[in-house]
């Protein structure tokens, strides 16, 4: 297991960079900006995945009243915020190149923006409650209530409204419509980013738990 980390850093990550930056064929109409695709879609996927994991931890906190779950929910929300900013910025730059404007209010652009605002609202809520127990409860409830909007944002609205985005990767005919080289590089990028997320998630959660332990130790000292 220990070597997996090194395999990822020294083999998988360089291969992904090589494939996405140098090896990839250039799509007609997209030009050199084709490469953004291999980064934009994975970070958008990780923004949603982080939110899902944060909501699961929130539900776990409400069920068991385990404060570690609350801290883990916050850790994943932090990652979600980072990925949704990256997805919004990369999408916006790509939109400028392909559609002519940085922002077009396309349904998918709207969805990721709402996700970003939900994360910001979540952290505003956390910072406006002093009591630890109450902070954890209220933010867990908000996280779950806000997460209930995500299926509507990700799956319903982009399909109800006309989108500038290409067909969903898996469309209604159940087909993946990409050339085989692009498809394989795309899948490899998705796996690489998800793998990277596993490490980021682990370290972010550990960091949050350590910070909390340090804070508790200081508080104990002060009490004495």
């Amino acid at each position: 297991m220990k070597y997996l980390k090194y395999i990822f850093i020294f083999i998988v990550l360089p291969i992904q960079i090589y494939l996405a930056i140098w090896y990839t064929p250039v799509v007609k109409g997209l030009g050199e900006s084709t490469r953004v695709f291999y980064y934009h879609v994975p970070v958008a996927w990780l923004a949603v995945l982080s939110f899902l994991i944060s909501a699961i931890y929130s539900a776990q906190f409400l069920r068991k009243r385990d404060f570690k779950a609350d801290l883990k929910a916050e850790a994943n929300a932090r990652l979600g915020l980072l990925f949704s900013v990256l997805a919004t910025v990369s999408g916006s730059l790509w939109a400028k190149i392909t559609w002519g404007d940085l922002w077009n209010w396309d349904p998918r652009e709207t969805s990721i923006l709402i996700l970003l605002i939900i994360y910001l609202a979540y952290f505003t809520l956390r910072s406006s409650v002093e009591d630890e127990d109450r902070k954890a409860t209220l933010s867990a409830v908000y996280s779950l209530a806000a997460f209930a909007t995500v299926p509507l944002l990700i799956f319903v609205i982009p399909r109800v409204y006309e989108s500038l985005h290409p067909d969903p990767i898996l469309n209604e005919r159940g087909k993946v419509e990409m050339s085989s080289t692009i498809r394989w590089i795309f899948l490899f990028s998705m796996i690489t980013f998800t793998w990277l997320f596993v490490y980021l998630k682990k370290y972010q959660e550990e960091l949050m738990l350590l910070k909390n332990r340090k804070r508790n130790l200081i508080l104990e000292k002060l009490k004495k």
């Binding site: 409400l62 709207t110 709402i114 996700l115 605002i117 939900i118 910001l120 609202a121 505003t124 809520l125 406006s128 409650v129 002093e130 127990d133 109450r134 409860t137 209220l138 867990a140 409830v141 908000y142 779950l144 209530a145 806000a146 209930a148 909007t149 509507l152 944002l153 319903v156 609205i157 109800v160 409204y161």
Partner: protein, 226 residues
């Protein structure tokens, strides 16, 4: 089941009685809507905004007027320290639905006021008024259901005023987008049946948020009584 519904309506009755003593939420919502519509009309200086901008201005006014008053019923329970007494009276789900019905009442009063104001000052016109009103009611209901749980959360946090708007806005944005699109279509001559996709999205949202609120409200409410 009947007793449960009766209790929900008792909460609604209590809130309406208490509201009409001070008229804080209702006057806040109505004055907000009035001021915004007048200000927009004044800024347009007689130019009719047309169906697209008419729909946008109408829903932006409804959204922010709703946000100005929806949190009040929960905040009042906290400020006047009546939350504990209310908790002793009945189960959390009853309070959730009772408070939500009270907000539905506020939202309906707002619609009854803002629709004539928009006709007069923004020049909203359509051949399908019944469709317009019906859709406006459902979208307004969706906004109410979507914010009741958040109003309860806000009442327990500090910085309540801006916090309610910050927390509610992303949750309500899908409804706002759908509502503007459907209202624009209705004002342009379409019927509600032609905007069935939007209506179904709004009804799904109501059911989803109603179920989530029903399940999670207890967590917030139990904490609120501490």
């Amino acid at each position: 089941m009947f007793a449960w519904i009766k209790q929900v309506f008792s909460i609604l009755e209590k809130d309406i009685r208490s509201e009409f003593r001070q008229k804080y939420a209702i006057s806040g919502i109505l004055m907000f809507a009035f001021v915004v519509v007048i200000a927009v009309s004044f800024a347009l200086s007689g130019i009719k905004p047309g169906p697209r901008f008419g729909a946008i201005l109408f829903w932006i006014t409804v959204l922010f007027a709703d946000l100005a008053g929806f949190a009040h019923s929960f905040i009042k329970e906290e400020e006047e320290q009546t939350a504990l007494a209310l908790k002793l009276c009945t189960e959390p789900a009853v309070i959730f639905w009772g408070k939500m019905l009270f907000n539905v009442f506020l939202a309906t009063v707002l619609l009854v006021t803002i629709i004539p104001l928009s006709i007069i000052f923004l020049g909203l016109v359509t051949d399908h008024w019944l469709d317009f009103i019906l859709f406006a009611f459902f979208a307004s209901l969706a906004m109410t259901v979507g914010t009741t749980l958040i109003a309860a959360i806000t009442a327990k946090a500090s910085g309540r005023g801006p916090l309610f708007t910050i927390l509610s806005f992303p949750v309500l944005l899908p409804v706002l987008i759908v509502a503007i699109k459907a209202t624009y279509a209705i004002l342009s001559g379409n019927t509600l049946m032609e905007q069935l996709n939007e209506l179904i999205t709004v009804i799904s949202y109501i059911m989803l948020k109603g179920a989530i609120g029903h399940l999670l409200f207890e967590q917030v409410w139990q904490d609120a009584s501490k």
